[in-house]
Symmetry: C2
Subunit: 197 residues, 2 copies
């Protein structure tokens, strides 16, 4: 498999196994919605600050289901269920991931702070911690997180950022220097899931 | 900041800094398309096996730009530029990330193998390596990767999986046990970027 430290792709079976049959839905052993409701959740709440696209909101539900987050707080103009568009991209995960609506993101973040959450904006701001340097465990075993994702065009608004304990940014090297908000959600939720589960 | 190992959110300034002004587009210091073209790329090619949605294809371009990947190979029925839908979700990244079209994913994967790429399907198959256990560095310093992502409904087809050196899966705990393909792209490309850049 290795030759002077070099991986030889054609001898990869030892690393990957050589029976790569696709796993059927039944074999995946997914929890039922009832079992999912009883599972211990990742101590993580997602806050959407005026995410306009129902597709993006639906993708957050699907990602939140996959990584077993606590809940989603939909704020301001964010689309809310029931919505055919959300259903189409969430594939029904809007029924398994807890959610609530708050007209004001500022009030939602203030409440989360009062409830003991460490609230972090996912945004490119001064003083933001780069996602590859974030150590969620440094926040202590009892850490509960709320991650705020912003509008497709405007991001997380400054007045909301100002209420957060800190900010996290995804390091990037591209010409756009931004990701689709649902893709950002996948990246950041994965990183917390990887570190905390 | 810590109290018996417990993070005190209200004293978070030391960790995060307390001036969290949003960074303007100018301050981000993004490379121009010309500078981007000259940058060293992540040794990673994305292969899309019949990804139907132009929105998803566009998101791959935007993510590929952010993480500086080598190129995207669009296969089969995958939408290709020029496309208004791709442009809308790629925000122009279809002009900065190199791409090519291949009618047959099987032929594209065979060619990448012949060119020395380690080709991995992102799919739930027997013998797949869990993304949180994947060590890209184990493939040697000269490792070049091609990651194959599949159709929104059918995933990566078995005949394509069979041609790959291995498979990677994103561990999940939800009822759906799958992610939107563009979100999966963000998660897996982030993990390779984090490990290899």
């Amino acid at each position: 498999m290795y030759f002077f430290g070099l991986f030889l792709p054609d001898e990869s079976e030892a690393y990957f196994g050589n029976d790569m049959q696709k796993i059927t839905n039944e074999e995946l052993g997914r929890p039922t919605p009832e079992e999912f409701a009883m599972q211990r959740k990742l101590p993580l709440t997602v806050v959407l600050d005026n995410v306009r696209s129902a597709n993006n909101v639906g993708a957050f539900f699907r990602t939140g289901d996959a990584f077993g987050i606590e809940r989603i707080v939909l704020c301001g103009i964010s689309a809310v269920p029931p919505s055919r568009e959300i259903h189409k991209s969430a594939l029904g995960a809007e029924f398994t991931v807890a959610w609530e609506y708050a007209s004001s993101t500022v009030e939602a973040v203030s409440r989360l702070r009062a409830e003991g959450y460490c609230v972090l904006a996912v945004e490119q701001v001064r003083g933001a911690v780069s996602l590859d340097e974030l150590e969620a465990a440094a926040f202590g075993g009892l850490g509960k997180f709320a991650l705020v994702f912003g509008n497709e065009v405007d991001g997380v608004r400054q007045e909301v950022v100002d209420l957060c304990h800190g900010a996290v940014e995804i390091p990037q090297v591209g010409t756009k220097h931004s990701l689709n908000v649902a893709v950002s959600g996948g990246v950041v939720l994965w990183e917390f899931f990887r570190q905390l589960r």
